[in-house]
């Protein structure tokens, strides 16, 4: 039974890390927009030629960031990539201590493009579940979409399976602002989205559909999300306002909130905050008020490494006394050369402000991208 509990704890915390963007590279690398380094107009997933070059120069300062380290040169209309992560984890929860090593992510990406039109797909091992099904049943595509993007990157439209654009777009799917707003691991829905991108602002809108996804994780009713983000200063920060709503099983869940980011070059510090207020409407019962927030400060002195402090907050029902969840964490990331990342996370969480109800987690992660 201890092994079962351990497996559940592992996958709850770390299974199938989504290949999302690293928001700490925004502004600190001199790049203000996610699409500068990613093919996706809202960041995450496969990185483009510029992003690969940045990985070798600005971020790590060593190696060759190109596909397979430059050994193969795919044609311009075809891009390939992948993420492989292995993690070792130690955890103290419910008076017990556990430790394990496990594969966390195996994802391959492909992109076919002609002009502004592209087809994008991710194929990977979907889950490191505790009672694993045969591997053949666990291979699938959590994200796949067709994208049209204007040549000047001033607007785009896409359709397929992906997350709606909302919030800080953190890579950690266990971050409370992702986990509790319907953006947890494997919760991508079929959707259509579009966006306008201008010099100082961008707006993204997504219409989420109830089309069946496989495997069915999370909830996939009709929904919508919109985010307006504006750059500030000399492209050293931004703020955004956002809303997201989704119909699920007779409940209508709506979030309103915003994000704020600021890079202080003189002190090598990036601040980022997201806060959302939620309302859930269920037939026959009073409205449920919710709140979720995340804040981090990231120290990134030049190339190769960075360290961050962060805090998470979630209250599932503001009416209930002492049901809030709070976590504090520190993260360290080392990029010894292009393609390689070693990161460490220590996170302590509480429920109802009681240390004994939460957990203490330490995780070391090795990440290689193709």
């Amino acid at each position: 039974m201890r092994l079962v509990a351990l497996a559940v704890a592992l996958v709850l915390v770390a299974a199938h890390g989504t290949a999302a963007a690293y928001p700490e590279f925004q502004f600190s690398t001199g790049t203000a927009r996610c699409s500068a380094c990613h093919y996706s107009p809202v960041g995450g997933g496969l990185i483009n030629d510029y992003g690969r070059d940045e990985a070798a120069t600005t971020i790590s300062g060593a190696g060759d960031g190109r596909f397979l380290h430059g050994a193969v040169e795919p044609p311009a209309w075809f891009a390939l990539g992948g993420d492989i992560r292995v993690a070792t984890l130690g955890k103290r929860v419910r008076e017990g201590t556990e430790a394990a090593v496990f594969p966390m992510q195996v994802d391959l990406y492909a992109r076919l493009a002609r002009g502004g039109l592209s087809a994008n797909a991710t194929v990977g091992v979907l889950e490191a579940i505790r009672e694993p099904a045969p591997l053949s049943e666990r291979i699938g595509s959590r994200e796949h979409y067709v994208l049209y993007e204007a040549e000047a990157k001033t607007w785009y439209a896409r359709a397929g399976r992906f997350y709606p654009t909302f919030g800080l777009r953190l890579p950690d799917h266990t971050a409370y602002v992702r986990r509790f707003t319907g953006l947890h691991s494997l919760e991508e829905s079929y959707a259509i989205s579009g966006g306008l991108v201008r010099d100082r602002w961008e707006v993204h809108a997504t219409l989420v559909t109830p089309l069946e996804v496989h495997p069915r994780v999370g909830r996939h009713g009709w929904g919508a999300a919109v985010q307006l983000e504006r750059l500030t200063g000399e492209e050293t920060g931004s703020w955004a306002i956002q809303a997201k709503t989704q119909q699920n099983d007779g409940a209508l869940e709506t979030w309103f909130g915003g994000t704020w980011k600021r890079w202080l070059e003189s002190s090598d510090l990036l601040f980022a905050v997201e806060a959302n207020a939620g309302i859930t409407r269920i037939d026959g019962i009073p409205l449920i008020g919710r709140a979720v927030a995340y804040g981090t400060v990231h120290y990134r002195p030049g190339k190769r490494w960075g360290i961050a402090l962060g805090a998470h907050y979630f209250d599932a029902d503001l009416r209930l006394v002492d049901n809030d969840r709070v976590a504090a964490e520190t993260r360290f990331a080392w990029f010894p050369r292009a393609h390689f990342e070693i990161s460490a996370l220590v996170r302590g969480s509480t429920v109802a402000r009681e240390l004994g109800r939460g957990d203490l987690l330490g995780m070391l992660q090795l990440h290689y991208y193709l």
């Binding site: 704890a9 019962i285 599932a316 006394v321």
Partner: protein
Amino acid sequence: MKRALVIAMLAAACVDEAPVQFSYVYNSIIVTSCTTSACHSSLSRAGAVDLHDEASAYRSLTGRACDDLAAPIGGYVDDADPPNSILSGLLRRSGPTGMPPNGRLADSEIERIEAWMRSGAACD
């Protein structure tokens, strides 16, 4: 007027009362703590417990379907003695076999679940 509104909102936010319908228990507690991809989703069905939607969750927990309320309540739920139900035992248990495995629910959340059982564990 504005002050009265603020006071009313604060008072509403601090009253430790919440509905006892299953739709509340499901959407406010089960979804946030139990249905992640690796646990009781349709992908994992850990322990053969599928909580991926409200109807599946009700069937998994009570042993009967929402549209078959003539059937007896069973499974993890005991509407006659909620604190001694299997579900309460899992939620209140110390040690690694308790649920959720990454930390205990708040007492106020467990009490809501027990209040739902006590009220008849209806599929409402």
